[in-house]
């Protein structure tokens, strides 16, 4: 049975890992829409003028944002 201290140490490690993830997410979202996935698809549940027809039936819409301009005014 692991001790409280051993388990706590792992939880602290997870917390640190997640803290670095959210810090990077904040930084990255200054130039890239956070709803845009690695396949340049839009995962947002709301309308956005940058959304384009999916590549194939059943897929997510394509994001046409170019990551150069502020993407937020396109959100509806």
């Amino acid at each position: 049975m692991p001790t409280k201290e051993e388990l706590q140490q792992r939880l602290d490690q997870i917390s640190e890992l997640f803290a670095s993830l959210v810090t990077h997410a904040d930084h990255q979202s200054l130039y890239r829409c956070p709803y845009k996935n690695r396949l340049d698809q839009c995962t947002a549940q709301f309308g956005c003028r940058n959304k384009r027809k999916p590549r194939a039936h059943g897929e997510l819409p394509i994001c046409a944002g170019d990551d150069k301009l502020d993407y937020r005014p396109a959100w509806e």
């Binding site: 388990l7 890992l17 997640f18 810090t23 947002a44």
Partner: protein, 251 residues
């Protein structure tokens, strides 16, 4: 020193070769996975793919077969999340993928929770989280939830477009002492105030601390509508949640 060929899981080998560029980080990751048994490598691989059902199943199986919780965390869940962090930092994956991996991590951690509890590690507290009525923007809320869970809170996620009644119901059901609301639109921000008023009308305002956040929200706005606190981002949200629950340090 371990070599990449010492890792049995092909997907993990590929992930390391393709995405981990810094030599020290690469060697550290190889050393970790070379020591990990195949079951742990499979958990890490499923987590990296964001497959929460598979992480759930494999973690359960591993613990049932007698593998220690510490080993599952060190060589499965945390090791997998380590690769996710590197891929994210290097912009190989983005926020939606990270959130999927975090959900997979949560699925695995659900099986560790009874072990934590038995060892005397209790959750810091329970939080209800939701995006207010009329608002469908949920990334900020989801990052807060990821961070809260990662910091030891139990979170009930009400999703987007959450009516005041739904918030009230959730607080009554779970007896959560803390509620977080987010809004991204200036048009939906007033619904935070309306939700707080609904808690007053239901005679529940004293039962729950309310924190708010979202791009257009400010400390002044939070104060004006009667919230107990405002968090500007996910890290601030966790600090605020701890503060509101009177948590000084977790030990």
């Amino acid at each position: 020193m371990a070599e990449i060929a010492d890792i049995t899981h092909e997907f993990i080998r590929q992930e390391i070769e393709e995405f981990i560029e810094r030599p020290e980080e690469r060697q550290r990751t190889i050393n970790t996975f070379a020591k990990a048994r195949p079951e742990m490598q499979a958990i890490a691989a499923a987590l990296i793919e964001g497959e929460n059902d598979i992480v759930d199943q494999l973690t359960r199986q591993a613990l049932d077969s007698g593998i220690e919780a510490l080993e599952v965390m060190d060589y499965g869940l945390i090791a997998g999340m380590g690769i996710v962090g590197i891929k994210f930092r290097q912009n190989f994956i983005f926020v939606p993928e990270v959130l999927a991996c975090a959900r997979a991590m949560k699925a695995g951690m659900a099986h560790i929770e009874p072990i934590l509890s038995a060892a005397g590690v209790e959750p810091i507290g329970t939080v209800i989280m939701g995006t207010v009525k009329g608002d469908l923007h949920d990334i900020g809320k989801n990052l807060c939830i990821m961070m809260l869970r990662g910091s030891g809170f139990v979170v009930h996620d009400l999703g987007v477009d959450t009516s005041p009644d739904k918030f009230i119901e959730a607080v009554e059901e779970t007896k959560a002492p803390l509620l977080g609301m987010s809004a991204l639109l200036t048009t939906t921000m007033p619904n935070m105030g309306k939700t707080i008023e609904a808690f007053i009308d239901a005679d529940l305002r004293d039962e729950v601390k309310i924190m708010v956040g979202g791009a257009p929200v400010t400390q002044d706005f939070a104060d004006d509508m009667g919230a107990d606190g405002y968090g500007k981002d996910a890290l601030a949200c966790v600090a605020l949640a701890k503060n509101l629950l009177g948590v000084v340090a977790r030990s």
